[in-house]
Amino acid sequence: MDIGHALGVVLDILSAPSTYQAMLRISTPLALAAIGGTFCERTGVVNIALEGIMLVGAFAGAVFSYYAQASWGFSEAMAPWVGLIGAVTTGMLFSLLHGLGSIHLRADQVVVGAALNIFALGATGFLTQAIFGVAGASPRVASFDPIAIPGLARIPFLGPVLFNHTPIVYMAAVIAVAGQFILFRTPLGLRLRAAGEHPKAADTVGVSVYRMRYIGVLISGALGGLAGANLSLESVSQFSENMTRGRGFIALAANIFGKWTPLGSWLSSLLFGFAESLKLRTQVIDLPPEFILMMPYVLTLVVLAGAMGRAVPPDAIGKPYSKQ
């Protein structure tokens, strides 16, 4: 491959609307998990269980959608919505375990997170077999179709890129903006951040640090669950074992790169989404598939190497708070 050819390939990729469409699509689970991580870490709780929460959410989404359609009488169009609600709720319940371990029991937050990841892997595998009788993956479930926004979807180039996506992709963008606003422009956001910067100071003016931290953890549970739903109900239409494949960790890096802000997390996720979207272009790019699949992880390393030091985490992050 000479330089001319390579340049041509790059231009080809960069000018195709499908590239950006894929970027937006693929970045969605990362963005949601990353924003969840942002809220959680801003209150001072490290959450490396994002991977496990996403996995649990993906599983729950598939299961709820399946049963909604098969047993609870929902139509194929409505079932995925049931799945979505199931995913978000399960994610929140699962994250409560993280909260319990990290906030109440004051255990090492990284270890608790790792425990939950391993647990999630085992539990989803176990339950897949127990519920569906098949190991490794669930059967096909009802999933979301892209919703084209009338009018806007017909704008040349931008239309298909921005306005023809499955619902959770839209949600991600809205959540990013809403999250930014909530965190930096409301009293609640001020208190959440106070709990992560100087919990004792917050405590002495009457802000409940425990409550703020639980809110942070639950938000990460909800958004992580939603991210999982995106995987099993939008990317594909089923749950398969370990389908998150490290995304939860990439989301952590996206949060760091985004300087612990919701908008920043969303934007960084776009970058990672771009890297991962290249795997759809293997026919154009002349590299072995394994190397393309490696790209997001390599990119994460590069990003981390550069971002650290310039991005400052909340002061009290990772330190359990006790009143005495």
Binding site: L97, A114, A115, I118, F119, A120, E290, F291, T300
Partner: protein
């Protein structure tokens, strides 16, 4: 004071024994609770926990064959357990032992298919190659952590995924014999294989067994790491950094150097674990051969409270679980993933130990203050 040193030594042993006993209580309790929870989960889905656990026990221990498999399973777990434990003692979470293991075993195994020098040379050489490659795979995360503070959880995990794809590519495209369909390398040479124990210790093992020298190597590694950690200045510095890097710095310890060294040693141990598997059991490099040894190593390390010698029984437990778990699946239809469920619960409970630890420390302080010579604080009515 005559006898003071002897009396002090006796008291020291007593204190140490009490400490060991107390600290054993917690992991044991965690395992028991996890077992109960696992049983409840099984029952909830219509499986019979009693026959399940009975099957597990039978498949893990009963019969020489089963016991052999259990021990064989534990060997890589001892190495990865040591890897994670050592890093933890330096305050680092090496979650990427899986990748270090794969890379180490790949390069060692590859070399093993190529050379056939006398065993005395080949075996140590391959072990070194495996350890060094594993260490190199942890080098980048170590440097990133030391210089930029990048969290090793993310970096080692990324290296793990990269390692997975890299080894997969190499096995399928370089090592594999193109004429076959098996995604694995050729067999390693005779001289590269670890001897089975009936050849090394014929007086102990009369009949042929698959148990190989790796067992001995694993135990030796555990002892060596224990000695390194508790009896050398390197180990002291590593532990100081793990406990309080600020005070360590003020005591002339280079935090950066120790972080890198700790991850290098950790990676080397993981690499050795994979290498020993290839050289002692499989005799070739498979694509995706690791059954999650790197992650189970985390559970093993935490269950052993990051104590190098404690890693041995913890690894045995999980070797038994994995083996027995397979049996459970076969006989009672219980998905083997239940082992991961148990792992997660165990780690969670062990992590919650901080609560017990903190309580224990306060208890220690309270009882000491009441006995100590200057501690008049209990009774404020002391003489001024």
């Amino acid at each position: 004071m005559p006898g003071a040193a002897g009396g002090a030594r006796r008291r020291r042993i007593f204190v140490a024994a009490k400490r060991v006993g107390l600290s054993l209580m917690q992991p044991v309790a965690s395992v028991i609770i996890a077992t109960v929870i696992g049983g409840v989960v099984m029952a909830a889905f219509g499986f019979d926990p009693f026959s399940g656990y009975a099957g597990l026990f039978r498949y893990a221990f009963l019969s020489e064959f089963n016991f052999t498999v259990t021990v064989l399973n534990s060997i890589p777990l001892i190495f990865t357990g040591l890897a994670v434990a050592f890093a933890f003692r330096c305050g680092l979470f090496n979650i990427g032992a899986e990748g270090q293991l794969m890379v180490g075993s790949l390069f060692a195994g590859w070399l093993g298919t190529l050379i056939s020098l006398p065993m005395v040379i080949t075996v140590p050489l391959l072990l070194i190659v495996g350890a060094v490659t594993g260490a190199l795979w942890a080098l980048l995360p170590g440097i990133l952590k030391a210089t930029t503070g990048a969290h090793e959880v993310i970096t080692t995990m990324m290296m793990s995924w990269i390692g997975l794809y890299l080894t997969s590519y190499l096995v399928k495209n370089v090592l594999m014999d193109p004429r076959t369909t098996l995604p694995a390398s050729n067999l390693i040479s005779e001289q590269a294989r670890l001897l089975t124990l009936n050849r090394v210790l014929p007086f102990l093992f009369r009949s042929p067994t698959r148990l190989h020298l790796g067992v001995v190597l694993a135990v030796l590694a555990a002892v060596f790491i224990w000695y390194l950690l508790t009896r050398t200045s390197l180990g002291f510095e590593v532990r100081a950094v793990g406990s309080n890097p600020f005070a360590a710095e003020a005591g002339g310890v280079s935090v950066r150097r120790n972080v890198i060294v700790a991850l290098l040693i950790s990676g080397a141990l993981a690499g050795l674990g994979g290498t020993v598997e290839v050289m002692g059991l499989h005799y070739r490099v498979y694509d995706h051969f690791s059954a999650g040894y790197g992650f189970t190593g985390i559970t093993v390390a935490l269950l052993a409270k990051n104590h190098p010698l404690g890693v041995i029984p913890a690894a045995l437990l999980f070797g038994a679980l994995t083996n027995g778990g397979a049996g459970m699946q076969l006989k009672a239809g219980i998905p083997i993933d239940i082992v991961d469920v148990l792992s997660g619960v165990i780690i969670f409970l062990v992590a919650a130990e901080e609560l017990f630890n903190a309580l224990k420390r306060r208890q220690e302080k309270r009882s000491l203050l009441s006995r100590s010579m200057g501690g008049a604080e209990i009774d404020g009515r002391s003489e001024a």
